[in-house]
C-alpha cells in the first residue's frame, strides 16, 4: 500500500510538470481573453504582471508546487477564486452524476449482459440495442433525451443541477442516462461475452454433471468467475464516465468538474487546469488500484505471490 501511495505521488508530480509545461508551451496569451475586448496595452500589461504570466516556467511551476505541497492549489485567474473552492463547489455534482451513471451501468450493463448471456433469445436483442448504444455519441444522446423528455414531455429539466438530494437526482437523470448510454452498451456486450465464455467452461460442466441446480451454477461458477473481467471493464467504465462528464456537463449546463475543465483549458487558466487534472489523475490511479485490489480479491491466482 505504501509503494502504491508513493507511486501515486510520483505520478502526480510527473503529471503536474507535464500539464503545466504543456500549458506553458501552448501558444496563447490568456491576458487578452481576461481583459475583454479593446483593452489598452497598459491594462494587458498589468494583468500579465498580476498573474506572473511573463515569469519563466520554473519560477511559476515552483510557486505552484510549493503552494500545492502546502495544500494550496493556487488561484484561478479567470474566476479570481481559489482552485480548491472552485473544485469543492463542483465535486458534489460531478460525483453524483458519475455515481448515478455508474449505477445505471451496473443495472443496465451488467445485469442485461448477464441476462443476455444466459437467455440467448434476449441476448440477440440486447446485442442489437447495445450496438446502437455504442454508436451514439453522448452529445447526440443528450440532444435526443432533452428534446424528447425535457422539451416534448416536460418530465425532466433541460439543464442545471438542482438543489437538495431528490431535486438533484431529478436534474441529473437525463445527464446520467446520456452519460451511461454508451458505457451501458459497452459493458452489456462485454459482460455478455464474459458470462458466455464462463458458461462454456469445463468446471461448469463438472458442476452440472454433479446435479448442482442451475441457479447455483450461474451464481457460483458462471457469474462469480465472470466478475473478474467485469470488474476490469467497470474500472475502465468509471474512468470513461469521468472523462465523459466533460461533454455531458456542457450539454446539460451542469456546473461540475468536467465543464470547469473545459472552461479552464480554453482560457489557459493554469492553476485551475492543473488542479482539476491532478484530481482526475488521482481518480484514475485510485480506480486502477481499486480494480487491482478487487481483482485480487476475486481471483486467488493473482494473490499467490504474496502467500508464504
Amino acid at each position: 500500500m505504501l509503494t502504491r501511495l508513493a507511486g501515486l505521488l510520483l505520478t502526480l508530480l510527473v503529471a503536474s510538470v507535464v500539464i503545466y509545461g504543456a500549458l506553458y508551451l501552448a501558444p496563447g496569451d490568456p491576458s487578452t481573453l481576461l481583459a475583454g475586448n479593446k483593452a489598452t496595452p497598459r491594462t494587458l500589461e498589468s494583468i500579465r504582471e498580476q498573474w506572473h504570466l511573463d515569469d519563466p516556467f520554473y519560477e511559476r511551476y515552483w510557486a505552484w508546487l510549493s503552494g500545492a505541497v502546502r495544500g494550496d492549489l493556487g488561484e484561478s485567474f479567470t474566476y479570481k477564486q481559489s482552485v480548491g473552492s472552485l473544485i469543492s463547489d463542483r465535486i458534489g455534482t460531478t460525483t453524483l452524476l458519475i455515481a448515478y451513471a455508474f449505477a445505471l451501468v451496473l443495472v443496465g450493463g451488467v445485469l442485461l449482459g448477464i441476462v443476455g448471456a444466459l437467455r440467448p433469445r434476449a441476448g440477440a436483442g440486447i446485442t442489437a440495442v447495445s450496438s446502437v448504444g455504442i454508436a451514439v455519441p453522448s452529445y447526440v444522446a443528450a440532444i435526443v433525451l432533452i428534446t424528447v423528455f425535457a422539451v416534448e414531455l416536460g418530465w425532466f429539466p433541460v439543464f442545471g443541477d438542482g438543489t437538495g438530494f431528490l431535486d438533484r437526482l431529478w436534474h441529473l437523470t437525463l445527464p446520467a442516462i446520456a452519460l451511461a448510454l454508451a458505457w451501458n452498451a459497452y459493458v452489456a456486450q462485454l459482460t455478455k461475452a464474459a458470462v458466455h465464455e464462463e458458461s462454456l467452461r469445463d468446471h461448469v460442466a463438472t458442476a452440472r454433471s454433479r446435479g448442482v441446480a442451475e441457479g447455483a451454477i450461474v451464481r457460483r461458477h458462471i457469474v462469480r468467475n465472470a466478475l473478474i473481467p467485469i470488474t476490469t471493464v467497470l474500472g475502465i467504465t468509471i474512468a470513461g464516465l469521468v472523462a465523459g462528464t466533460v461533454v455531458i456537463e456542457q450539454s446539460f449546463n451542469l456546473n461540475g468538474i468536467g465543464s470547469l475543465l473545459v472552461q479552464a483549458t480554453s482560457s489557459k487558466d493554469f492553476a485551475l487546469v492543473q488542479g482539476i487534472s491532478l484530481l482526475l489523475v488521482t481518480i484514475f490511479v485510485v480506480v486502477n488500484v481499486g480494480v487491482d485490489l478487487l481483482n485480487a480479491a476475486l481471483d486467488p491466482r493473482l494473490r499467490t505471490e504474496r502467500r508464504p
Partner: protein
Amino acid sequence: MHGAATAGHREDGVTGPAPTPPAALLSIRALRVDLRAEGELRRVIHDVTLDVAEGESVGLVGESGSGKSMTARAVARLLPEGAVTGGEIVFDGEPVLTLRGAALRRFRRGGIATIFQDPAAHINPVRTIGDHLTEGLRLVRGVDAREAERRAAAMLGEVGIAGGERRLRQHPHELSGGMLQRVMIASVLLDEPRLILADEPTTALDVTTQSEVMALLSELSRERRLAMLYITHDLELAAGVCDRTAVMYAGAVMEVQRSAALNDGPLNPYTAALLAARPRVDARSDRLEAIAGRPRSAFEAPEGCVFADRCPHVEDACVAERQELRPLAGGLVRCRRAEELRGRLGHA
C-alpha cells in the same frame, strides 16, 4: 434442447447373448449424435452400442476424434447445446436421452459421476478445493457444511492427500496436476455414484503420476464395487484395468471383447492395427503411425465400412455397405470379413 431420439431400438444383431451380462447398469444402444458446427449438423457418433454392468469396468478405446468423449457426454447428458441424438441410453432402467427438467436434475444427482481428462479446467479455479469437494454434498444432498468438510477431509486422506483440513482452504492453482486429479477422484467418490465415467483421467499427467492415479482409481472403485466406463486411447492401459474393452473408430464401436481375449485375438482389423501401433514409452502418441492415412471422424468416414479407406484387408463389398455390430466368439464385432480373417489378425 437435445433432439428427440429418432431411432428406436435397433434389433439387428445387437441384443445377442454374451458378453453382455443380463442386468446392465448402463446400456447404450445404437447411439447417434449430431453436433451443430458452423450452422450445420455434423455427425460425431454414428453407432455406439455398449453395456456396463453393475460393478463392472469397461474400457472404451480409440484414436483421438473417434467420439469417446462424446459418448461419455451423451451418457452424462453433457452434450453441447444444439446436439441431436438418436438411439437409446438406459441407466438403471431409465431412458436417459429423453429426460428433461426435474427428471434430468434427479438423474444427474444420482448414480453417474464423471472424471475428466483435464482436472485444472474442470475444477473452478477461483473457488477452494473445499468448495469443489463439498459442493455436491451441500448443494445436492443437503449435508451441512461442517459435516461435508469433515467427509471431504477424510476422503482426501483416502486418495492420498495429506493435511486435508489445510488443503480444503487451498485453491486449485496451488496443487499439482496429479494432486488435482486425486481431488477430482475424491469429489466423485464423495458423491457416491454407481457408475464412474473416467474420460482419459491420466492423459494430462506425467508418466509416473499417471500410473499412481490410475492405480488409485481402479483400487478405490473396485473397493466400492463401482461400475466404470474407462475412456482412453491406450489399449494396453484399458486392458490392464478393465474387465472388457470396446474399440471405437469414427463414431462407431468396432469391437467389444473381454480384455484378455481382445489382446490375444482381435476380431476387427482396426483393433489389430491399434495393437500393432501400441505406443512405446519413448514415443507417446495417440495416432496410429502404423496405419496409412489419418484417423477419420464420423462425419468424414466412408459410406460403407467406416474403416474401409484405411483397412489393409478392404474389399469392394466393404466399401459398398455399412457394417453392423454382430456377435462373434463371445464378443461383438463390426466387420464383413471377421470370420474369414479370424486368427489371421493379431499383432505383428
